[in-house]
Amino acid sequence: MNPRTPGARDKLAFLLSLVPYLLDRRHSTVAEAAAHFDVPEDQVRQSVRLIAVSGVPGESTQYQHNDLFDIDWDAFEEHDEIIITHLVAIDDSPRFSSREAAALIAGLQYLSALPEQADRDVVGGLMAKLTRGASEAPLQVAVEQGAADETLSEIREAVASERQIEFTYINARDERERRRVDPLRIDSLDQNWYIRAWCHLRSGVRTFRLDRISDLTIIDAEITHRASDVTLPDTLFQASDADITVTVDIAKDAVPLIDEYIASTQAGESPDRVIASLRLAHIAGLGRLIVGLPGVARVIDPPEARQQIADWASRALSRYENDRRPSASVPPGHAVD
């Protein structure tokens, strides 16, 4: 329906942002502007060329010379310098849209889980400024402000001061080990926080989940590997040749919740079901993975995985065997519908 190139709006936003920046600077270079906006130099050059020939129809409705922006063409063509010599219509930064302001406000709220961002006054002040700087009230999209975590705060400090840390870690196979690592980066994915680190025990880059870390100490030793020395993969979890494949029948809604494990999916028996192929390092944590999903989740293959889940559920049920047989009734409603 819409033949528009997807980037046109973004290009317009850049033109409207570049003009006030160049006016404020009076004199700048293509390289400076590109670095400031974090865009390729060519985008700056093209935009400057467009600005320089743009303007308003004017009284003559003919876009006369005086109705157009103008730049010092010699400086631009010969030295890559940008000097606006005549301006029309706009000279100030544009306001934010209600969606733009809301996106930054929600991002700020989310960051309040980070120790250095915990200053609610700073966050609150910024939210008020974004609200005043928006052309309409920011869209009502908000994120619960997380409580700063003490362990996270210590790790953050170790990352900044490039110190090694040591902690007790319980892995997905329920094995507990004391680990000594060079912390490189703190990552998060929704409500979970992770430490990307060089692990001295495994001699490699590993990802650790914050809520499986305990008894953390910062060691008075510099890190041996820096983030710039190693490659931190973009994904938190990497597939390995040793992975096993498990086929499950799950509710469609459950797919996004385990998308990092899903290798492929196909249509299930009904429109709301999906057959998914999962790649896992081992089947020890499989019960945990699928029972936590909404709706009914069923392992189809391999048979030993099915057996393992059945045994695991039986052992769990034995803790409740003195309860009366469960009626089909549901727990009473709570305030979340």
Partner: protein, 340 residues
């Protein structure tokens, strides 16, 4: 795309949009559509005096939407004595409403923090919107401090219902969706006026006015069985003193605070470890934990997922919900007669 206007010299889209913004900011009394189409760069090349400009007019309608999407206050002014005569509708962008207010200024530290906040969104339209907001911030010419290194936060909106709801929220449209509560035999269609989207305990919720019962309700996006459908019906948002998102989050906090469960976990197991690190959990007695929750069914999913390592003690409804889940799982995996 067979219209003759396609043959006219091509002016890039961004040049046409930029020229339209400049022309509408420069005019005080506004420009009529006819004046815009016949004189503004990008339209004038395709304008046919006295001819059919229908496709150009449609182009203008889409361009207005795009410009407004960027937060630019494009106004229409109709002279009071000429209501109903759209030929005389004038368009303009009041400069005072276009410019960022002078007292909205940012320090280098604040710009740096906002830069990090923008990286939280890495996919979907929210990512594009936060990048555009950053671009506008950078137009202020403030030099950022070194980017915050060593932190890569990321927040996702995985529910398919999120985008349609955000659009409905923006346009004040009444929406409907089939909603299923755990234990309900079938989904029921809810028709609501969306007031806020909030993330609480890691899950996205819709705070809305249920128009059938005229009461406010909070819905979990993950329980909407299909993406919400917008109606053409708009609504007037109630005039609260507090923002809807703040009210929604406070209500959820209160529910969380008021709901308490006790859970026993075998020491030094994965379950014990996770429970002891859980936000708001309180260890009583080494292997007992007191925890808060907003939704008993979600908590039941989480505790059931601990399997044999943990056991819910109270409330009894939580125990029952866990037994139900485990029984269901066992029967779905035993190859003998499957009965539920």
């Amino acid at each position: 795309m067979s219209d003759s206007t396609r043959a006219a010299p091509r002016v890039p889209v961004e040049e046409r949009l930029f020229s339209l913004v400049l022309a509408l900011v420069a005019t005080e009394s506004g420009l009529t559509k006819d004046a815009i189409l016949s004189t503004v760069q990008g339209y004038r090349q395709r304008f046919s005096a006295g001819g059919d400009n229908a496709s150009l007019e449609r182009q203008f309608e889409r361009d207005k939407d795009d410009i407004r999407d960027l937060g630019i206050p494009l106004e229409t002014v109709t002279p009071p004595d000429e209501e109903g005569n759209s030929q005389n509708t004038r368009y303009r962008i009041p400069k005072g409403d276009y410019d960022l207010p002078e007292d909205v200024t940012f320090t280098a530290e604040e710009i740096t923090l906002l830069g990090l906040a923008a990286t939280v969104w890495r996919e979907g339209t929210l990512s594009g919107e936060s990048q555009r907001a950053l671009m506008k911030l950078r137009s202020l010419g403030i030099t950022e401090l070194d980017p915050v290194i060593g932190v890569a936060p990321r927040l996702r909106t995985r529910e398919a219902a999120f985008e349609p709801l955000r659009t409905a929220l923006e346009r004040h449209l009444v929406v409907s969706f089939p909603y299923i509560k755990p234990g309900d035999a079938a989904a029921r269609t809810r028709t609501v006026a969306p007031l806020a989207l909030v993330q609480h305990s890691g899950r996205w919720h819709l705070y809305a006015l249920d128009v059938d019962i005229d009461e406010r309700r909070t819905f979990l996006l993950s329980r909407m069985l299909q993406a919400p459908r917008s109606s053409s019906r708009t609504f007037e948002a109630p005039d609260d003193a507090e923002s809807f998102s703040a009210t929604a989050l406070r209500d959820l906090d209160r529910i969380w605070e008021g709901n308490v469960a006790t859970v026993r976990a075998d020491p030094n197991t994965h379950a014990w470890f996770r429970l002891s690190r859980l936000h708001g959990s309180e260890a009583i007695d080494g292997d007992h934990f007191r925890l808060h929750f907003t939704d008993i069914n979600i908590l039941a999913d989480e505790i059931a997922a601990f399997g044999p390592e943990a056991e819910a003690l109270t409330p009894p409804s939580l125990r029952a919900a866990i037994v139900q889940r485990l029984t269901r799982t066992r029967s779905a995996h035993s190859d003998a007669e499957e009965a539920e």
